[in-house]
């Protein structure tokens, strides 16, 4: 152990340290999941072994979360079927009827609950429906 400081002792490279820390912050900012608030983290999705993850992300797509007990929400805002129908109808009027609707159904939810959402989607004039699952395909 050395005592005291000599003139040749290397100092802490503060500028380089700040550079690295800023790079890390930029990395986290860029990769931060901005959709964290629009998906319901209480939902446990089913596993898809063969279907690859979705790459085309339509900015106007509607994500409907469907819990195991049948409760539905969009961006964690609970909705009744009539409210969902109104929202989807307004979306189709604004952006056209080819907007995809993604149903994030819990793996334990029954099909009759998914069917209820699909019927509402059809009544609102939309027809592109997708069921979300966690992809295990490479």
């Amino acid at each position: 152990m050395r005592k005291g400081k000599s003139e040749n002792e290397p100092g802490c490279p503060v500028a380089a340290l700040i550079d690295v820390v800023f790079l890390l912050i930029v990395f986290f900012l860029v990769t931060m999941n901005m959709e964290k608030e629009v998906v319901d983290r209480t939902i446990e999705l089913a596993q898809a072994e063969e279907t690859k993850p979705e790459e085309d992300k339509n900015p106007h797509r509607v994500i409907v979360n469907l819990r195991e007990d049948g409760d539905m929400n969009i961006a964690n805002n609970p909705l009744t079927p009539s409210q969902l129908k109104m929202l989807l109808y307004n979306t189709s009027q604004k952006y056209g009827n080819s907007i995809p609707v993604i149903i994030r159904a819990d793996r334990g939810a029954r099909f009759r609950q998914i069917d209820k959402v699909m019927k509402v989607v059809g009544e609102a004039g939309l027809y592109r429906v997708k069921i979300s699952a966690i992809s295990n395909a490479e």
Binding site: V14, A15, L17, I18, V21, F22, L24, I25, F28, L29, T31, M32, N33, K36, L45, A46, Q47, A48, E49, E50, T51, K52, P53, E54, N97, P100, I102, R104, A105, D106, R107, G108, A109, R110, F111, R112, I114, D115, M118, V121, G122, G125, L126, Y127, R128, V129, K130, I131, S132, A133, I134, S135, A137
Partner: protein
């Protein structure tokens, strides 16, 4: 200009408080490290509804019908277990993968079973897969 110094109008120089800056930057870093989570890869299985402009053909092409019931799965009316339908569907996909598939699902079926069947159809190369409710 040297780091940490600012040119003023006169001779006075204001030092940048580096310690405070580093503190703030580290706090930001800690925040992002704690709140960051790896994105979960989500697959989206298309189960398109009939589009409004879609005309009804007088002579529709033959469809492959799969019924998903609580106790069994029927392919073209013949019952299979979930493990048995894969080879059957594979044979059908090799013969005619452009054939539309209609999956009729009982209301009691859970999502993970539906996803299993849809995923299998998509993985075997069926291009059009539609889902509808099984009556009765």
């Amino acid at each position: 200009m040297a780091l940490g110094k600012r040119k003023g109008s006169g001779n006075e120089e204001l030092p940048v408080p580096l310690n405070t800056l580093i503190d703030v930057v580290f706090l930001l870093l800690v925040y992002f490290v704690i709140t960051w989570s790896a994105p979960i890869p989500e697959a989206h299985l298309a189960v398109n509804l009939p589009s409004p402009g879609e005309s009804t053909q007088e002579d529709p092409p033959p469809v492959l019908q799969i019924e998903v019931r609580p106790e069994k799965i029927l392919v073209q009316g013949k019952a299979y277990s979930i493990d048995e339908i894969r080879p059957r569907l594979k044979n059908l996909a090799e013969m005619q993968s452009e054939q539309p598939v209609i999956v009729k699902v009982s209301g009691e079926i859970k999502t993970h079973r539906l996803v299993q069947v849809l995923d299998m159809c998509k993985g075997l190369g069926f291009e059009t897969v539609n889902v509808m409710s099984l009556k009765g």
